[in-house]
C-alpha cells in the first residue's frame, strides 16, 4: 500500500464512479447491491484512507466493503480525475495490506487457502483438473497455441462445457494447439486482485516456468481473467509471449473461413466481461464473431462495452459472493436488463459470468425466456459436426 498512501486522499467523493456514461443507472455493482455510500468507490477509498490514518480500526465489515468490489473498473472509466486509471490498483493495494496483516474476511481466507492447498478456489483435486478434457491433446513443443483453461473451465460444470465447445471448434478449424492438463496452475488473477501478492507471484512463476520449458509462444485463454493477468502482469515477469482471448481467435477463424457457420435464427444480446472489456478494451471481437453467423440478430443492452454492468463475479466473487442476495444483486440486475432487450440468448465470453448469470436467471424466473450461452457454444450450434 505504501506507494499509494500519498495518493489515496485525492478522491473527492464526487460520485461519478457510480454511473455509466449517460447516468441512466447505477453502474457500480456493490453500490447497486447495498446502496450505502460506503459501498461506492469513493466511500471505499475514504474508509481505506481513514484506516491508514488510524481513524477507523479494521473490522470484518470494513474488509467486506473492500472485498465487495469486483474490480470491474467502472470507476476508472467514469472518474473525471487524473488518477482514475490507478483506482483499482489502490483497492488491491489496500487488500494487500490487509492480507499482510492477516486481517481478511473469512470467505476470502477460505478462497486463498483453497488456491494455496489445491491450486484452485473450489478445493477440487489437482489431478482432476483435466477431467473435462476427454482426450484433448497435451501441448507439445512446436504446437502453435497453448490453450489455457483456468480454474472455472477446469472444474465448474458450465465452465467445462465452455472448454469442450471451444476445443471442438479449434479442432474443427484445424488449429495446432494443446492444453497443459493436470499440470496447469491457477492463473492467479483473482489471487492478485484479492491482494495476496506472494501467492500470486508463486503461481505466476510456476506458469511462466512451464511456458518457458515448453517454449510456448502463443496462448489462448478461455477466461478473460486469465487473459487479463497474462497480458498485464505476466509480461513483466521475464518471459514474453502472445496472449489471446478465445473470442479473438474465433473471430479470426470465422473471418478466414476456417469455420463455416450455417444459417439459423437467433436473437442474442452480448454481455461484455469486465476483464475483457474495460480492463483490456476488447469489445469488437466477440461481437464480430457472433455477427459472422448467418441469421443472428445481435441486440445491445442499454449498458454495453465500456458502460457494461458487471455480473458481480469479479475479484473472486464467483466464489466469495459478497454481492449475492436480493433482487439488486448485480447478476440479477443484469439478466433483467438482458431480458428487456427481447433477446432469447444472453451471450457471455467468461466462465465467471456464465456461473453468475445461470443462477440469476433461475432466481429471476427467466428460464423460459432467456438462456445463457457462451460465444463458442453459439458458434458451435451453428456449425454442423
Amino acid at each position: 500500500m505504501k506507494k499509494y498512501q500519498a495518493q489515496i486522499h485525492r478522491c473527492f467523493r464526487c460520485g461519478y464512479c457510480k454511473f455509466p456514461t449517460d447516468y441512466s443507472a447505477i453502474n457500480c455493482p456493490s453500490y447497486n447491491r447495498f446502496r450505502f455510500d460506503t459501498y461506492s468507490t469513493g466511500g471505499r477509498l475514504w474508509l481505506t484512507y481513514a484506516w491508514l490514518k488510524g481513524e477507523l480500526p479494521w473490522s470484518e465489515h470494513l474488509a467486506e466493503i473492500l472485498y465487495a468490489c469486483t474490480n470491474c473498473k467502472n470507476c476508472s472509466e467514469q472518474c473525471p480525475m487524473k488518477f482514475a486509471p490507478d483506482i483499482v490498483e489502490w483497492i488491491i493495494a489496500a487488500r494487500s495490506d490487509m492480507v499482510e496483516q492477516g486481517k481478511i474476511p473469512a470467505r476470502v481466507k477460505r478462497f486463498l487457502e483453497a488456491v494455496y492447498n489445491y491450486g484452485n478456489p473450489f478445493k477440487n483435486l489437482r489431478n482432476e483438473r483435466a477431467a473435462w478434457a476427454n482426450g484433448t491433446r497435451i501441448y507439445e513443443k512446436g504446437d502453435d497455441f497453448l490453450l489455457y483453461i483456468g480454474c472455472l473451465g477446469s472444474y465448474d460444470e458450465n465452465g467445462q462445457k465452455m472448454a469442450s465447445n471451444l476445443v471442438s471448434l479449434l479442432k474443427k478449424a484445424g488449429l495446432s494447439f494443446g492444453i497443459l492438463g493436470n499440470d496447469e496452475e491457477c492463473c492467479g488473477n483473482e489471487v492478485y486482485s484479492l491482494g495476496e501478492t506472494e501467492l500470486f507471484n508463486t503461481l505466476a512463476k510456476k506458469n511462466i516456468d512451464k511456458f518457458r520449458e515448453l517454449d510456448v509462444k502463443k496462448i489462448i485463454t478461455l477466461c478473460p481473467h486469465g487473459y487479463n493477468i497474462m497480458k498485464n502482469q505476466y509480461q513483466g515477469m521475464g518471459y514474453t509471449f502472445e496472449v489471446y482471448h478465445y473470442t479473438q481467435v474465433l473471430d479470426s477463424l470465422l473471418r478466414d473461413k476456417m469455420l463455416k457457420p450455417e444459417a439459423g435464427r437467433l436473437k442474442v444480446t452480448y454481455h461484455d466481461p469486465c476483464f475483457l472489456g474495460r480492463h483490456n478494451k476488447v469489445y469488437d471481437s466477440p461481437r464480430s464473431a457472433l455477427q459472422s453467423l448467418n441469421g443472428i440478430d445481435l441486440i445491445e443492452m442499454d449498458r454495453n462495452k465500456a458502460d457494461a454492468f458487471c455480473c458481480g463475479g469479479g475479484s473472486g466473487n464467483f466464489v466469495t459472493d459478497y454481492l449475492a442476495g436480493g433482487k439488486d444483486s448485480p447478476a440479477r440486475t443484469r439478466v433483467r436488463e438482458a431480458g428487456q432487450t427481447g433477446a432469447s440468448t444472453l451471450a457471455v465470453a467468461c466462465p465467471g459470468c456464465m456461473v453468475m448469470f445461470t443462477d440469476a436467471i433461475k432466481a429471476e424466473g427467466l428460464e423460459e425466456k432467456l438462456r445463457v450461452m457462451d460465444v463458442s457454444a453459439i458458434i458451435r450450434e451453428s456449425i454442423s459436426t
Binding site: 486522499h9 473527492f12 454511473f19 450505502f36 455510500d37 477507523l56 473525471p80
Partner: protein
Amino acid sequence: MIDILQELSKITDKDYISNNKEELYLYGRDPGLMPPHEPDYVVMPSTVDEIQAIVRLANREKIPLIPKGGGLSLTGLVIPQKGGILLDMKRMGQILEVNESAGYVIVEGGTTHGALKSFLLKNYPHLRHSIPDSPPITTIAANAVIHGQGRLTQQHGFNSDMVCGLEVVLPTGEKCKIGSCAVSPYWFSKGPPLPDLSSLFFGWFGTTGIITKLALRLYPCKKIRDAMLFLTDEAELVPEIMRKLGRTEMIEDLVVTAQPIPLRFRGNYYILFYITGDTEEEVEFKKKMAWRAVWEYFERREGGFVSLPPEMKAPMLAMPSKDTTRFADVSKGGGFEYSGPIAPLEKYPVYVKKLAELADKYDLFYSSAARMIDGGHCMMFSFSYTFNRADPDTMKRAKQALDEAADFALENGGVMWKPNIDEQQMTMSKMDPDTLNLMMRIKKLLDPNGIMNPGNWEVPQ
C-alpha cells in the same frame, strides 16, 4: 429504554439500516471543510410511509433526523451536528410522471439530476431541465432545498424557482401536498394562486420537513447548442458586459471565470455564454445579437472573442461539467470548497479582487465562477479555494480564507448561498431582527421538538 435499531427495523428493510462504524464514519463527513460529526444510525427508506413512520419515531423519541441527498453542498449541510438518524434518500429515485403538455416532471425525493437528464434524453429529447454543474448524483430535491442553480438559471431563476409542486413530510409526521397538487391532480404551480407554502421548505436545509415528491418545470431542449467565450482583462467591465449580454435575452447561460493558471488565465476574465436554437438561422441571429451587445468593447480593444476549437468546446458544452469537479484535484489534494454569495453584478470587481487577495494571504490556489441569475438581477460569485485533504494546515488556511470571504461578501451586500453553520450565524447576526424572529417562529411551529437537521438555522442560546 427503547431500542432504536429494532424500532427502525420494524419500519424499513434491515439491509438498509446501519449503525456500523464504517457507515457512521462516512455519513458524518462531506467533501468540504466543516468538522465531522457522526450520526447514530443511517437509514435508507424506500416509501413515503416509511419516512412518515421514521419521522414519528424520531419526533416521539426526540431524536435528530437529517435528510440527505447527494451530500455535495460542500458546506456540511447534512453533517449530523447533533447525531441522530441520517436518512439517505437515494433509494427513492423514481421518475413518476411527465406532463408533456404542461411541461413538468414529478420525481421522488431521492431522484438524481443525472437520472432525470438521462431519462429525458431517452424519452423526451425535446425537453430539458436546469441541470446543475455539481456531479450527477446530486438529487433534485436537495438541490432545490439549497436554492440550487443550473444551466437554465440565467433564463429562469434559481432551480427552486422552477419547482411547481411538492409533497413533504412535516417534522410531526403529516404528509402535505404543496401547490396546485393540493387541490388538483395537476402539479403546475408550487403556489399561485394559493398562498405559496413552498417557501417553507426552500432554503431551510431540511429543518422544516422532508421532500418526498417534487414537480419540476421542463423547458424546450433546442436542437443546437453552442458556446461563445468573451475575454476582458478589466474586472470593472465585467458587470456591464454581463448585463448587456443578459439583456439581449438571447443567452441560455452565462458564467465568468477567474483563475491564475494556466498562465494565460491570470489577470483575465473569461465570460462564457451559451446560445441555443432549433435552426442554424436562429443560432446565427442570436450570436449576432450577442456580438452587437459587446462590440463596443472590441472596438475599444477592451475585450474580444476567443476562438474555441472543438476539443476546447466539448467540455464546455458537457452537462454537468466535469471540469467543475476536477478543480478539487488541481493541487492534487482532493479538496475544494467555496463561499458563494448571491449578490448584484456590480460587486464582481471587489469580490474578484478579494478572491486573489485572500489566496495570496493564505497561500492557496483559487478560482471563481460567477453565474448570472435571472437575466442579470443578481449573480452567484464563488470564492473557491483548493486544499489538500492530507495536509491539515492547508485545510485550516482554506477555512480561514472562506470565513473571511463570507464576512467580506456579507459586508459588501451579498447574501450567502447554502451557508455552512458558521456562515448561517454570520447571516443571522446581520439579519433584520423581526425577520429572524419570524424565521424562528415558523421553524418552532413546524418542528416543535427541534428534531430536523438541528444545528442549522439555529440562534445560539
